[in-house]
Each structure stands twice: as C-alpha cells, then as structure tokens.
Symmetry: C2
Subunit: 154 residues, 2 copies
C-alpha cells in the first residue's frame, strides 16, 4: 500500500482508488436510492429521511434543530424541507411546552402510513446496492474506518 507524503504533488494509485472510490460509490448509491424512492413513491430521499428519523424518535417528534443536525442539513434547509412535508400532510409543527421559541416537527398518521409503504423498498434498495455486495469482513472494515475518521478535525 503506497502512501504519499505531505507536500507531494500527487496521490498514489492506491490512495486514488480508496478516495475516488468513495466519492463514486457514495454518489452512485445516493442517486440510485433517491431516484428509486422518487419513482416508486414520489418521495425524495431527503423527505424520506425526515419521516424515518421522526418515526424512530420518542413520541414521533423531534426539535427542528436536532433534526437538522441528524440529517446533516442547515437549519434553513430543514425549515423548508419541513414546510414541504407539512404541505403534504406528513408532518406537523407542534409548539414546545418548555421553550416557546422551539418547535417540534411531528410525524402525522398519514406520514407514518407513507413511510410504512416506502420503507421496505428503500431498505431493500440499500441492501441490494450496498450490503449484499459486501462481505462481513468488508462491512466490519468500513465501520472501523468510519470510526477512525469520526474523530475529526476542522
């Protein structure tokens, strides 16, 4: 495994494979999952993820800020995403008892129904495009790698 040093003008073949491979794999997966959801359930991946996080949250609700953090989204981005979901009737905003500035986004009955329909297909998509192609050893190695990257800088 050839490694390059600080300041060198190029990466090694090995490094390029690991790095560009990630960019491409990520891209291909996200695009394919998003278009599958859109095609089969008229649901963008971003909306799906909101419903999923909410459904798995206690009481089916979460504070706007927490939701934005979990979804790796800016707060304004989340505001508008939730707007769209509210328009569809899948989410509603609820006041927060102990902080009048705060709001909960809460999944509605109809949101749960939507998610119930979409979830199995989506998870199968992830299994098919990702897990099924990887061995146990691959998965373990990936988890280990993400753990190491996790302790981030800047």
């Amino acid at each position: 495994m050839k490694r390059t040093q600080h300041g060198e003008e190029r990466l090694s073949e090995d490094e390029i494979a690991a790095w560009k491979g990630m960019l491409r794999a990520h891209r291909d997966l996200v695009v394919s999952l998003d278009s599958q959801l859109e095609r089969e359930h008229s649901l963008p991946l971003s909306s799906y993820e909101v419903l999923m996080v909410l459904a798995d949250s206690p009481g089916g609700r979460a504070r706007m800020g927490e939701l934005a953090d979990q979804l790796l989204l800016s707060r304004s981005g989340l505001t508008r995403l939730v707007d769209r979901l509210v328009r569809q009737g899948w989410v509603e905003r609820k006041p927060c008892e102990d902080d009048a500035r705060g709001l909960y986004a809460a999944i509605t009955r109809s949101g749960r129904a939507k998610l119930k329909k979409a979830r199995p297909a989506h998870l199968d998509g992830v299994r098919e495009g990702f897990f099924s192609k990887l061995s146990d050893a691959d998965l373990a190695a990936l988890s280990r790698a993400w753990g190491r990257l996790g302790r981030a800088v800047t």
Copy 2:
C-alpha cells in the same frame, strides 16, 4: 456481523454503522475540503476538480462530455461550471477538429498556475482528513469494497 434480510423493516446496528458512517464521513470530508479550498484559494472544489482533470489529460484538454462523466456532473451543469472557469480565465473552449459539434475544454496557462498553488494544500487536506487516519489495512479494505460496489445495477 448481523445482517438483515430482504423485506425486513429495519437494518441491524452493524449495517447502520457501515451505511450511515459512509454518509457522514463523505459529507464531513467534502464540506471540509471545499471550505478549505474556498478559504485559502477562493476556489470551489468543483472548479478545482475541473482544473485537475484537465491538467492531467493529454494536451491539457478534454471533451465536454467526457469531463462531465468524470466529474459525475450533468452536461448542463458542466456547461455552466466551465462558463465560470472561462470567465476566470482558467479554462478556454476550443473547437474539435474532427467533430464540429464537439468542444474541448482546455486549461490555460493561468489555470495551471492556479492549480499549482491550490493542489498541494488540497492534497494535504485529503491526506490529513482521510489517509492519515486510516491504516494500510483500512485503505486496502476500502478499495476492495469500492471495487465490489462498482459492479453496479440500476
């Protein structure tokens, strides 16, 4: 390593770690590299990538279509990205001798100069945020995993 089956309503903890880990790692890295380039060189990552591909292409030029494919970008997206680079004077469009429909995007002298300044810092950023945190075994495992995912479907 627990694996879930087709049709199951949830993923296992192990699966979630491997999957969400990739989403987060990718996101953190791209954001950090993009803002570093923007901060230190006023150069978005997307523009940097164009310059890099062109500089590494024979004759410092590539057909618009090929470029779009390499950068995982739509054709129209690339048209506008190249527009911006042309405005900066870092790239120029050149007619294609053997196909009057086609165009080359070609890196200019000033584009090469820009890249020369930005490249070491960017590569160090990748080394710091990615390679330096991973062992040889990790890198090999990642490459292997990307190779398996590569044989894609849909």
